[in-house]
Amino acid sequence: MIRFLYNRLWQSIATLFAIITVTFWIIQAAPGGPFQSERAVSPHIREQMLAAYGLDRPPFAQYTHYLGNLLKGDFGLTTKYEGWTVLEIIGGAFPISLQLGLLGMAFALTFGLPVGIIAAARKNSAADWLPMSISMLGICLPTFVMGPLLALGLGLKLNLFNVAGWYGWSDRVLPSLTLGLFYAAYIARMTRAGMLEVLSRDFVRTARAKGVSETAVLLRHSLKIGLTPVIAFLGPAMAGMVTGSFVVENIFQVPGLGQHFVSAARNSDYTLLLGVTVFYATLLVSANVVVDMLQAWMNPRVRLES
């Protein structure tokens, strides 16, 4: 166990380093640059602006400089929103995304897991296809349709919740619901598939033959193994969810982290884009370590390997 964690730690650091390096050079290859505006800025002013951020140096010097600062915990300044550091922006936006992501995931799990398990247990009955069809809605209606629909229906028509913003609890409901519905559908479908796979195995038949109750078969014997593919999906999904969703944040005007992945890329805000990428990568890599451990725990036949 310790050895596993130790090995994974080193692997993770190497992975992170590779991600930073690749991202840095991808960004260098992108057209345009920071300080672009519709109105032309005379070349000497542009040079001055670049020099103020050290962006006039050769790319390799910028790269080593960035890495050096990163080791010191300095993510740099954004080039688009001057006066803010990248850490401040992430530090302000992440708790919001985390909250939204956790609320959404809680909703997705409370809805998706039971639906998937029941559907698998009652395969090809009304209890199977009805909830599964409803859950399909979460996939068929893109978030940019579901979001405004919920805002119009629950927000403006029924006057239950605020249609956008992030100030009080009433603002939290609709974005979490929109985000959760999408993932609930995924989870329900994958749970159903995973459970069906397990329920046809020998040991389940043996258990049933021995007269173990159906609930016990489902929960005690099958669930752990049946959820293996769901867990594999949940790791990256969780990392994605807590780092925010561009579309949901945009529709409900949530000041989360997700928007920066898109807007920083489009604004050529190099430091901010690198910052959120490094942050996301760290979360993702840790989530994957957790998932590997969970899978080993749920399915003892899979050994932890480094």
Binding site: I45, A51, G92, A93, I118, V163, A164, L177
Partner: protein, 546 residues
């Protein structure tokens, strides 16, 4: 099994209960109105609140609450009123202006506002190592350009001098009758030197002085809260010289970049003022809730740039054919539908200026010109692209024009939508055939739409150059008399339209929503907002219903 079903049911019920517990009762806008706080949708997050770093309209709306220039916009009319300066005079040639500051004007920490603060501010914006984007706006000052380009390092060479603590003398490169109206732009605003120097050097770009608690300004409001991409709140500045006039206790600016969401928030009672209205909802608001709907002229023009270095498009007859084949009326009436007017020239009607009006729709003449240029059979004309940045309205207009050129001229035209950065880059490198563009006036004068087309101007981006045009613009800069100047500028515009390196399409309007609770709201041509004259009434005559 039953246990599981019960679990799922319980989960659902708990969720529903939790959700209803979160529901709300009072509208935010009504609560804020009672507190005298205006809720404003402000488009996007500002790049900066530092007047020497910022650029753009979003920033303008914010900075004018925190800082005040020598002059400011008249609350109702299209003119300027004294602000930090109580009065001013110019010499006969209108190139030397003397401003007398208000002795009672104070910074928000109690310090007096002095002429030296202005001089220091201009020196800061012009300091090369600061890299101020709008430094070029100050090139009107004598010696400013040389200082900004590093040709001299002596700040005394800039034509801004404090004769005494309350008298500021600005020496310009040429006669500028509209100078006072240029001073409402934040590039000309003062800053508080000790505050900036407390948080860095004169040329520190990403300084913390603009953050709440640090910011010291001379405007009607001061900065209370700034949460990134979330909220900026300003509150009444007790040290402001005209604090008695200020009606609001505060303003909350929300950076809402999703237009339909902004409209929903307005209907939901979360905003008093929106930045814009979604295209498809304009008809509804205009007819059903006209008391909240505003549609105001705006000094901006939408046009297409043509790359005149392109082998086929370098022929002016082809460019004219393209322009004549566009039915602008169909675009404004059937697509935009928000009150825009078809362009007859590049310069919108402004300050008494009327253009030559050479732009029109004439498909027969268009076809004739194209044939004359050697394309009697239009299928021999090579395919070219319309470049535009990603946006629903740019795309719709481009699709319509693509069809018009196909129908009226028989040309095969492609569409090329690109991401903002790629689009700007392509335009600057002249790597396009035809490109969508727009220009908003910096100051209410035709010059702001014309001087960009001179040879070598960074905003030209068409490859077009005519020495006669350059000469006319240079000549106009030396003329004092407005009507005489306008005659020369009109001649310049005619010359531009004869060569047609740009195809003007329509003149903008601004559409937005204002809650009936808002009082003292007067739309302005440049969308400047004299916030200090705006107020709120707690019980508006016709209560807002969603």
């Amino acid at each position: 099994m039953r246990f599981l079903t019960a679990l799922a049911g319980l989960g659902l019920i708990l969720t529903l209960l939790g959700l209803t517990a979160c529901s709300r009762h009072d509208s935010r806008a009504r609560k804020a109105a009672r507190e005298g706080i205006l809720l404003v949708g402000n488009g996007t997050e500002p790049k900066s609140l530092d007047p020497h770093i910022a650029s753009g309209v979003t920033e303008h709306h914010l900075i004018i609450t925190l800082l005040e220039g020598l002059t400011s916009d008249h609350p109702v009319e299209e003119s300027v009123v004294p602000a930090a300066a109580a009065r001013w005079e110019a010499n006969d040639t209108l190139d030397e202006w003397t401003f007398h500051l208000r002795p009672e004007a104070k910074w928000s920490n109690g310090d007096p506002v002095t002429a030296q603060d202005f001089v220091w501010a201009y020196q800061r914006l012009l300091t090369p190592s600061l890299g101020g984007e709008y430094a070029a706006m100050l090139y009107l000052l004598k010696g400013a350009e040389a200082f900004n380009k590093g040709e001299t390092t002596d700040p005394q060479s800039i034509g801004a001098r404090a004769l005494d603590p309350l008298t500021l003398r600005l020496t310009l490169v040429g006669p500028t009758p509209y100078f006072p109206s240029m001073l409402t732009h934040y590039a000309w605003f003062p800053v508080h030197p000790p505050t900036i120097l407390a948080h860095g050097k004169i040329d520190t770009r990403a300084s913390r002085w603009t953050h709440p608690g640090n910011f010291v300004g001379n405007g009607p409001f001061t900065l209370k809260t700034w949460r990134f991409k979330h909220l900026i709140e300003v509150v009444r500045n007790p040290h402001y010289w005209d604090a008695a006039t200020v009606k609001l206790n505060g303003i909350r600016f929300l950076p809402i970049d999703n237009i339909p969401a902004e409209e929903r928030m307005f209907r939901d009672g979360q905003l008093h003022l929106t930045e814009t209205v979604p295209l498809d909802k304009i008809e509804h608001w205009r007819t059903k809730q006209a008391d909240s709907y505003y549609e105001n002229p705006y000094l901006a023009v939408y046009f297409y740039r043509i790359n005149v270095t392109h082998p086929q498009l370098k022929d002016p007859r082809v460019r004219h054919a393209l322009s004549l084949a566009i039915d602008r009326e169909a675009i404004t009436k059937n697509i935009m539908k928000a009150g825009q007017s078809p362009a007859t020239g590049l310069v919108p009607p402004v300050a008494g200026y009327t253009g030559p009006g050479l732009v029109k729709f004439d498909p027969v003449e268009a076809r004739r010109l194209l044939a004359e240029a050697g394309y009697a059979d239009p299928s021999t004309f090579p395919r070219f692209d319309i470049l535009f940045n990603v946006s629903e309205s740019h795309r719709t207009i481009a699709e319509a024009i693509q069809q018009m050129w196909n129908k009226n001229l028989g040309l095969n035209v492609g569409l090329n939508s690109q991401d903002w950065g790629v689009y700007l880059d392509a335009q600057q490198r002249l790597d396009f055939n035809v490109s969508r563009a727009a220009w908003t006036a910096d100051y209410p004068d035709p010059m702001t739409f014309l001087d960009m087309w001179t040879t070598g101007n960074g905003n030209n981006m068409t490859g077009w150059s005519r020495p006669e045009f350059d000469a006319l613009i240079a000549q106009a800069r030396t003329i004092r008399d407005t009507s005489e100047r306008f005659t020369v500028l009109k001649e310049a515009e005619s010359l531009l339209l004869q060569d047609m390196p740009v195809i003007p399409l329509y003149i903008y309007v601004r559409n937005y929503l204002v809650s009936p609770a808002v009082t003292g709201w007067h739309p302005k041509l440049l969308d400047s907002r004299p916030w200090k004259h705006v107020g709120l009434q707690v019980d508006p005559p016709s209560p807002h219903t969603p």
